[in-house]
Point group: C2
Chain length 469, copies 2
């Protein structure tokens, strides 16, 4: 059977890069958490921007839907195709070049398919820092980070992926190459198309390259774990430390005791930081451009003050890289411990920082009222107002059986988020997973503006259909 | 003569806020530098967002063009109407409320008409910092700052206005109110409409309110003036200081000796910082959250190293607030001295930081070749790659007569900017002044994307026509 569209794709990128066999395409069709497997007409693997443009033009001509895909580590089904089998997966993985590093301008120009870890390492090799850091950094691509405006642990000081990007190269939905790879800190020459493509999850065009911001490498990063009586105290400690340490405070993570118990039960080899248990813990990272001594003194002074004021209950300041890694390991093992415990109901939410303590109290109460004994596994990037507020079943209820309550629990949590002026997606995006939630929490005016933008930039509706809108 | 449109406007906002007499409208029609006076059908002065929406609906219904206006301090003719007299000026000046300050979330919700200085002061009264700072801060409105994505002297550390805004309230071109006054650091729920309206210079809708980011107030700000042999050394000093001081370096301004001589001749009462003259000077500001002593020690150590390395020739570190003000006064008097000298040809440009020294050398040479004896008054926010590269006539040529060369000189400077990968508008925007320049420096692809967005959000084309596109 001939297929004129696929033949044209083969002519554009070579037959070996047009995958159609079930075994060949399978690795591209299932989402990261393994919850959903879609189907596709083919997986296309272009080598460079020009080939991406050729393929998008072909897709536009044949009206074939396109699902752009990077490292496929997204958590909201944004980079896998739906079950219809009509779409092609456009894999950016072969676009792997670090095109240029300008140490004096502190910028790096990269292909979209570069793995985040490789970008971090390339910066390090030049004595510079690319501060985007998240759990999937060994697998995710910078193009995917940009398409989802990824967050992570460095946002407090350095901002989201959006703030780390100065310029883009995009293949538009018409298959034209918009080259805006500018390494400029200031540029006010018309509409901010860059930020429109960033976070659009591949629904407006395909990001193929970017100019990233780099930073001076701090001389030392100091980590501390602080034991706390409540989320409210965690917020007081945040304010106290920010006032004291200013922009040297580069990380501030919250973890409840439920999280630490979960980690301890699944990873007993990890050290327990405190002899006693406390309701909450904050993980702080302070980066000094002066010296390790300076950083330690600054962090210890802030913690001392918090202990005196009764805001903190106890604290450990890491005195070696190994100790620092051990403290971070607790935080990093929370999602792994959750996965080991079984499927759970995840929420990636953000709130005004001033309302987080009240939100947690109120939402815990609403859930416990509806589901007595339910376990809330709450942790996250408190400095950015971003919580991973995950729900596990009461003791004795099987994780998989509890998933039947997912929609009802989402409703309770997201309605509470809305009541407290928050967002139902802080750093993961909307994808296909939260698409049907949007109309409940966005005004019709905002949705109509988004639809107008979508229709203007992708009039055929071929770019990642069924995602976001 | 009755005018149904104006009668409807009067019914919406009260007769006293629909100005039509020449004397009443005159203060709204001339641009800040006094170069252009437009005409209008009326000046409309709504009291609040609801009245803005009513007026925009009327304008849409009667197809009357709208020129949104804040403090009218823009430098690119973005906020004044054209000469046709068909448009209304929509003044936001009566929207003056500071709606809320959340000290714990570090956010302030403001009306678009709030004067920047008042916003800064309101933050200060709560012990916080709103870091946007620019020459017009006593007159410009925050809505205008957002509409033009204003820059200023704090961008190095805190970013442009874009980075200082978390949420917007916008009256769309259809007269609907898009309420997105969210105080969230992370929110990935669809397209970044916020950044689309920011910097759109009122051509897509009317910004009526915003949620602004606030910061901890540093304990001390230390200023130094460093004498340098060349722009290249200014860049070396920037890198050296950034590596040494990290994010405590909050300001880095460049001024040539031509600038200082100009200031000295027009403002002889200002002190001269050095007994000798040097080709270039850098004004540094370092902000410490620890103590004044810490800031001074850090800045002195960096300068000491620069002097040892031969990067710096001499330096003055201010030891009092009065001394610091005196150093900043030199920088702030450059535009005033230029204005006193006569009309000159201004350029607000940005470049990759690594290419600035070469750009200055090459462009100075091109200009001197074309216009022997021409004076380049070059200063700006070097830390952001932003230069105000202004051109005054050779000795003996009258300033006003030299303006005849404006288009030719713009061409030389802007072509050179393009050669070095820069932008022809760093922080002032495009407005009507640079509109005809855009097609020379933007690709047709980018212009078409911008036109598609414009047509999608303002299909009647009533929002600030003739600006940007």
């Amino acid at each position: 059977m001939t297929d004129a569209f696929l033949d044209a794709c083969r002519a554009a990128v070579g037959s070996e890069h047009v995958l159609t066999g079930d075994q060949d395409t399978a690795p591209y069709l299932t989402d990261w958490r393994g919850r959903f497997t879609g189907r596709c007409r083919a997986v296309l693997r272009p080598a460079d921007t020009a080939q991406v443009a050729s393929l998008v033009r072909l897709c536009a001509g044949y009206q074939v839907p396109i699902v752009p895909q990077g490292g496929r580590t997204g958590l909201v089904l944004g980079s896998v195709p739906d079950a219809s089998g009509t779409a092609v997966v456009l894999s950016l993985r072969r676009l792997q070049r670090i095109r240029a590093i300008d140490t004096f301008n502190r910028t790096m120009t990269v292909d979209a398919g570069c793995i985040l870890y490789d970008v971090q390492q390339a910066a390090l090799e030049h004595g510079l820092l690319f501060p985007l850091s998240l759990a999937a950094e060994g697998s995710c691509s910078i193009g995917g980070n940009l398409a989802t405006n990824a967050g992570g642990t460095g946002v407090l000081r350095y901002g989201n992926t959006r703030e780390l990007c100065l310029g883009l190269e995009v293949v538009t939905a018409q298959g034209e190459v918009w080259d805006s790879l500018r390494g400029l800190r200031k540029d006010n020459t018309g509409y901010d198309l860059r930020d429109l493509y960033i976070g659009a999850e591949g629904t407006l065009g395909v990001i193929t390259g970017a100019v990233l911001k780099l930073f001076p490498q701090p001389k030392a990063a100091i980590t501390a774990l602080v034991a706390l009586a409540s989320p409210a105290d965690a917020l007081e400690l945040l304010k106290l430390t920010e006032s004291h340490a200013g922009p040297t405070l580069t990380g501030y993570e919250l973890m409840s005791d439920v999280c630490l118990r979960l980690v301890a039960s699944h990873f007993p080899e990890l050290p327990q930081p405190f002899p006693e248990r406390y309701p909450q813990y904050a993980l702080l990272e302070l980066s000094s451009h002066e010296s390790e001594q300076h950083g330690v003194a600054l962090l210890e002074a802030a913690i001392e003050r918090a202990l005196e004021a009764g805001v903190a209950q106890d604290a450990v300041v890491a005195t070696s890289i190994a100790q620092s890694r051990a403290l971070w390991a607790i935080r990093e093992h929370i999602p792994l411990a959750q996965a080991a415990a079984g499927n759970n109901i995840k929420h990636d939410i953000s709130l005004p920082i001033s309302r987080i303590a009240d939100f947690i109290d109120a939402t815990d109460a609403r859930l416990t009222h509806a589901y007595p004994g339910v376990q809330v596994v709450c942790f996250g990037h408190l400095g950015d107002g971003n919580l991973h507020y995950n729900i596990a079943p009461p003791e004795g209820v099987k994780h998989d059986e509890f998933l039947i309550e997912q929609a009802a629990i989402n409703r309770i949590v997201h309605d509470s988020v809305a009541d407290y002026g928050g967002s139902i997606s802080a750093e993961h995006g909307i994808g296909a997973l939260k698409r049907d939630e949007l109309p409940r929490y966005k005004s019709p005016i905002e949705l109509n503006l988004m639809r107008a933008v979508k229709a203007a930039l992708d009039p055929l509706g071929i770019m990642n259909p069924g995602k976001i809108l």
